[in-house]
């Protein structure tokens, strides 16, 4: 298991966001944390990133307990829900930021930034500022910025929520392909079951701070283990998909 959560609990001001959460994700997998809003999926992601601390339980990345390690030392990249691009920096400077902080050499930074701009097909837009970009372009920049320091684990918080429905499907396919090409273990949070079913290798279904079921999209659809899963997942919608898989 590359990422492992062991009996995690977390409470915010009396609200229990995580109740005994345990799961593991293997290296190279693209996992979806799926659940209704308020089910605690973002909290799980933020705890893996080190942005929030669990009250109890262990978080392991690559076999090491990282509870006491700051997020910046965990080898992760994070894509925020609204991308959190640095609005006073150009696209290129956004992507370079993580490398500059690591005190990489100028030439190394430049070649890495160019490489990533090419990857996200925005070679000519390096000098633009975030507010001059479309939603989809911003997401691609956020993705490139998260990948710049070569993380072993990529975390994405509702990566498609801020994008309009029309381009969402297109971006989904794009992101899936990119993650496959880069070969980075990834976890994304979503409340959209279609998104989770179509994109992920592994779906972790959360509800009221608990994990309801973990499995491939196929298993979740065909063998729901709890009443909640049966109600929540609209299996009929995915029948066609399941046949293909």
């Amino acid at each position: 298991m590359y990422v492992e959560m062991r009996h995690i609990t977390k409470t915010f001001d009396g609200f229990q966001a995580s109740r005994d959460v345990s799961f593991g994700i293997e290296k190279g997998f693209l996992a979806a944390l799926l659940g209704p809003s308020g089910s605690g999926k973002t909290t799980i992601l933020r705890m893996i990133a080190g942005l929030d601390r669990p009250d109890e339980g262990d978080i392991l990345i690559d076999g090491t307990r990282v509870n006491d390690l700051p997020g910046s030392k965990r080898g992760i990249g994070f894509v925020f829900q609204n991308y959190a691009l640095f609005r006073y920096m150009t696209v290129a400077d956004n992507i370079a930021f993580g490398l500059e902080v690591q005190k990489k050499s100028k030439s190394e930074i430049k070649s890495r930034v160019d490489e990533l701009l090419e990857l996200i097909a925005m070679k000519d837009l390096g000098k633009r500022y975030p507010h001059q970009l479309s939603g989809g372009q911003r997401q691609r920049v956020a993705f490139a910025r998260a990948l710049a320091p070569d993380p072993q684990l990529l975390l994405l918080d509702e990566p498609f929520a801020a994008i309009d429905a029309k381009v969402r499907r297109e971006l989904r396919t794009w992101l899936r392909e990119m993650i496959e090409r880069v070969g980075v273990t990834s976890i994304f949070v979503t409340h959209d079951q279609e998104e989770a079913m179509e994109v992920a290798d592994l779906v972790i279904l959360t509800n009221q701070g608990r994990i309801e079921q973990i499995g491939s999209p196929r298993e979740i659809c065909l063998q729901p283990q709890t009443d909640f899963v049966r109600d929540f997942i609209d299996a009929k919608r995915f029948e066609a998909l399941m046949d293909i898989v």
Binding site: L51, S72, K73, F86
Partner: protein
């Protein structure tokens, strides 16, 4: 306006002063009936003329009523120059202290959540609601000879009341919310995401402030500094109580004007006032440049 991005609109909702004013300037067509427009313009102009225009003319006319020579003499008078220097000292001190404090407080209250956060924000606003005279009195009762700290200060030979430190202290007190008030909404609207993103990439606190937070608050900070300067230079009430009106020692420009006026030295009083008016106009120009840049 047309090319406003989402972030600007966010700021409008939060009630960022300047951007909200822009909205008001562009009213819906139905409301811009010409008759109403001209009546409102007329009322505004009349009001400004009575409240601002005429008094300013009076200052200029009276200041120059005995001719240039008298004006120059009043302005270059030893006590006037000393009062001007003290005013500038108090202003610079207040701006320096309140800028540092304002940045820290605004950063703390917008980026961290803790119990009593709301109470702290309210306390910072107290100088806005309290009468400056009372602020001055409070300082006398705290630092004066019969005050709580009187014995301690006397033992260490520190003089605050009826001395320059008191003047500076009173000026700082009266102006301390300005920088905070300008920065807080801007920082609040920014959220924590950008800082969290930078921290996750391994940036330290100072790098985050310098590269992420500061570019965002730059103009708001300058605007706050300008407002703080304007208020500090004009402060009368609190300083009047605590200064003791010692000519050439603890007199600031506004106090000096009052003294001259009470001595029936009208020309000199208006001449000295004109220094303050000129400084105010300079600040106004600076303010407008910043406002325009900030868009």
């Amino acid at each position: 306006m047309a090319d406003k991005n989402e972030k600007d609109l966010d700021r409008d909702l939060v009630g960022d002063g300047i951007h909200s004013i822009q909205k008001v300037i562009q009213p819906h067509k139905a409301y811009s009936r010409p008759v109403i427009k001209y009546i409102l313009i007329g009322v505004s102009v009349l009001f400004l003329a009575v409240m601002l225009g005429i008094p300013l003319i009076v200052v200029a006319v009276n200041a120059l009523s005995d001719g240039w020579a008298a004006y120059k003499e009043a302005v270059l008078d030893e006590y006037t120059v000393k009062a001007l220097l003290l005013t500038l000292l108090a202003t610079v001190s207040a701006v320096a202290v309140n800028t540092v404090f304002g940045v820290f407080a605004a950063y703390l209250l917008s980026k961290f959540y803790f119990k009593g956060r709301q109470i702290l924000a309210t306390l910072i606003d107290i100088p806005f609601s309290i009468s400056p005279v009372i602020a001055g009195l409070v300082f006398i009762l705290t630092f004066g000879n019969i005050g709580w700290m009187g014995d301690f200060l006397k033992a260490h030979d520190i003089k605050i009341v009826f001395a320059v430190p008191g003047v500076i202290l009173a000026t700082i007190f009266v102006t301390f919310p300005f920088v905070f008030r300008e920065l807080f909404p801007v920082l609040n609207a920014q959220g924590k995401d950008e800082e969290e993103a930078a921290a996750l990439m391994g940036a330290g606190g100072f790098t985050i402030f310098r590269r992420i937070t500061f570019p965002h608050i730059r103009w708001a900070l300058l605007y706050g500094v300008i407002l703080c300067t304007a208020r500090a230079m004009g402060e009368f009430g609190a300083v009047s109580v605590i200064s003791g009106h010692l000519r050439g020692k603890t007199n600031t420009l506004p106090l000096h004007v009052e003294i001259l006026y009470n001595e029936f030295n009208t020309t000199a009083a208006f001449a000295v006032s004109s220094i303050l008016v000129i400084l105010a106009v300079l600040i106004l120009i600076a303010r407008n440049i910043v406002e325009w840049k900030r868009k």
